[in-house]
């Protein structure tokens, strides 16, 4: 893993969060180049050519997302940076927010210009109070330096950036829920279509991009789309951040070229499972994604296609490692409880189903499981999948079903012996 760092290039540098340090390392030169010399269409084409895909979890091509914003709309347009990082096992955006806020601001400015937005928001989860202050300070510094504001670099282009704090709700990471929240309401997802690109914030054309996606833009402009596209695999270009947690020797945030071998990453870069224990299961892309057994990751590479072929998803890159002392019933219950707590309550299959799954996992773990419980959970999970207006339902249903399918004998033993067979 001796590749050049794109996203983590300023991490660990003293005072990396300040404008002075950011500029001394070439910061805001990409923005100046964009706003003074580039046309929006040219910028969109460059980002399309780079192959950059959204890093929030869905992996949708960023340049294409921008291109859906109608150019002739008389309405205002909005760019929103999604800094509502809440996916279980994911803490990469927080690192960038706290240590490289200007890269996020610069990326936000570049994306706003691409869709010709003059007001951009950075929506940060409410709990990250320190992060919000750091971002606010970065925006203030950038305003004073003239990289945000009126007539930026003499280009005639005006752009304002507002840092907006959420107030505690996982669902606000979903883009339409985020917009409902930003409109001052409950964070309720909206039916798509219409998509935010045409009917977003206050009914105006809006693009929502993840922190990590935006932070990649200054590098892409500086070094060129071809340099970015030269990294990674055929369909997964560039680099990606991975947050590694759980039973692992060296937890933390890692930047990898897309397509890096999963097993090598865990064993060599992260130091493997500590204390002489063995790997029992690993979630590759945050709590929403199906767990994989050790033999399933043998030939998996960390890119969208390879992880999907193995039956899971790359998602946010939140890697949660579980050793052989882990009770998979308890882990499944933990994740089910998360979704039961966070369901926004709009769609019945999700609102009711998440609570049922949580209760059934709980009773299996606590010695009260009944014959038929596992099929009941699979049935509930199947009835949630695809039957909700946002991807939260699938995010709750997929891991529940995967835990049972991958570790069924352990669940059956809990039910047969009416106790947790792993912990005691």
């Amino acid at each position: 893993m001796s590749m050049e760092k794109l996203l983590l290039r300023n991490i660990g540098v003293t005072d990396s969060h300040t404008l002075a340090v950011y500029q001394s390392r070439g910061g805001y030169q990409s923005w100046e180049k964009v706003v003074r010399n580039m046309k929006p269409a040219e910028l969109i084409e460059a980002v399309k050519a780079s192959g950059l895909r959204g890093r929030g979890g869905a992996g949708f091509p960023t340049g294409m997302k921008w291109s859906f914003v109608p150019k002739d709309s008389p309405k205002l347009k909005y760019l929103v940076c999604n800094a509502d990082e809440s996916e279980p096992g994911t803490f990469k955006d927080r690192l960038l927010i706290e240590q490289d806020p200007h890269a996020i601001v610069e990326g936000t400015l570049i994306a706003a210009f691409a869709i010709q937005s003059h007001t951009a928001f950075i929506y940060i989860r409410g709990e990250l109070v320190a992060g919000a202050k750091i971002l606010e300070r970065a925006v203030e510094e950038a305003c004073r330096a003239g990289t945000i504001g009126k007539n930026i670099f003499g280009s005639g282009y005006d752009l304002d950036v507002i840092v907006h704090r959420g107030a505690g709700a996982y669902i606000c990471g979903e883009e339409t829920a985020l917009l409902s929240s930003l409109e001052g309401g409950r964070g309720w997802p909206k039916v798509k279509p219409p998509f935010p690109a045409t009917h977003g914030l206050f009914g105006c054309p809006t693009v929502v991009n993840n922190v990590e996606t935006l932070a990649a833009l200054p590098w892409i402009i500086e070094r060129g789309a071809a340099a970015y596209a030269a990294m990674g695999t055929e369909k997964s270009k560039g680099t990606k951040l991975f947050s590694v947690s759980g039973h692992i020797s060296r937890p933390g945030v890692y930047e990898l070229e897309m397509g890096y071998p999963f097993k090598k990453f865990l064993e060599e870069d992260c130091g493997g499972v500590p204390n002489g224990r063995k790997l029992k299961g690993v979630i590759p892309g945050g709590g929403s994604m199906p767990v994989l057994r050790p033999e399933e990751i043998e030939k998996v590479n960390l890119d969208y296609e390879s992880v999907q072929a193995a039956g899971s998803m790359l998602g946010s890159g939140g890697v949660i490692v579980m050793n052989d002392t882990t009770c998979m019933v308890r882990a499944a219950w933990n994740i089910a409880r998360f979704y039961a707590h966070e369901s926004c309550g709009q769609c019945s299959p999700c609102r009711e189903g998440c609570h049922w799954m949580e209760k059934i996992f709980y009773r299996i773990e606590h010695g009260e499981g009944q014959a038929g419980d596992l099929d009941l959970i699979l049935n509930i999970s199947g009835n949630i999948m695809g039957n909700t207006i946002c991807p939260f339902g699938d995010a709750a249903a997929m891991p529940a079903a995967a835990f049972i399918r991958k570790f069924r004998p352990e669940f059956e033993a809990h039910i047969a012996e009416k106790r947790c067979t792993v912990r005691y």
Binding site: H164, G168, V244, G246, H247, G287, A331, N334, R337, H341
Partner: protein, 157 residues
């Protein structure tokens, strides 16, 4: 007695609303102002914010009750929030919660009799690589051990 912002907070309210393209978008930051001013967001505070924001109290109540960071009931000076989601659970968050319960004599959802501490279990706080962890008011405390936890609790008066 009807609640009202102090002149300083009212000025902040006006500045906040002026930052946004539409007044309604300032709802979350205005609720934060109200929570800081009034301690919690009870029915009187909700009615006051509704009037300020030109919305119905029912809508404001709906917003307040949706988000975990707005407290509808009085809360202790130090709100301890222990993350319980998977990475923290693997790292021993149940033990941390158990130690706090024992030391303070309260369950999650309760406040100590002297009003010093409230305890909650919360979902993922994006601090999974430094599990177990907790948030107390605005501060994150990471990679918790029993010794660290005791020192933190003793330092919070």
């Amino acid at each position: 007695m009807a609640l009202e912002f102090s002149p300083e907070t009212y000025k902040k309210f006006e500045e906040t609303v002026a930052r946004y393209p539409k007044k309604e978008a300032a709802m979350l930051p205005v609720l934060y102002l109200a929570q800081r001013e009034f301690g919690h967001l009870g029915p009187d505070a909700i009615e006051y914010v509704a009037r300020l924001m030109e919305q119905s109290p029912a809508r404001v109540h709906g917003v307040v009750s949706f988000y975990t960071m707005y407290n509808m009931k009085p809360i202790g000076r130090h709100h301890i929030q222990v993350c319980r989601t998977l990475s923290c659970a693997l790292g021993g968050s149940e033990r941390i919660t158990g130690l706090i319960k024992k030391k303070l004599g309260i369950e999650p959802g309760q406040t100590t009799a002297d009003g010093r501490f409230s305890l909650s279990e919360v979902e993922c706080l994006a601090s999974c690589g430094t599990a177990p962890m907790m948030q107390v008011n605005d501060e994150y405390y990471e990679s918790l051990t029993e010794e660290k936890l005791t020192a933190i609790l003793d330092s919070l008066r």
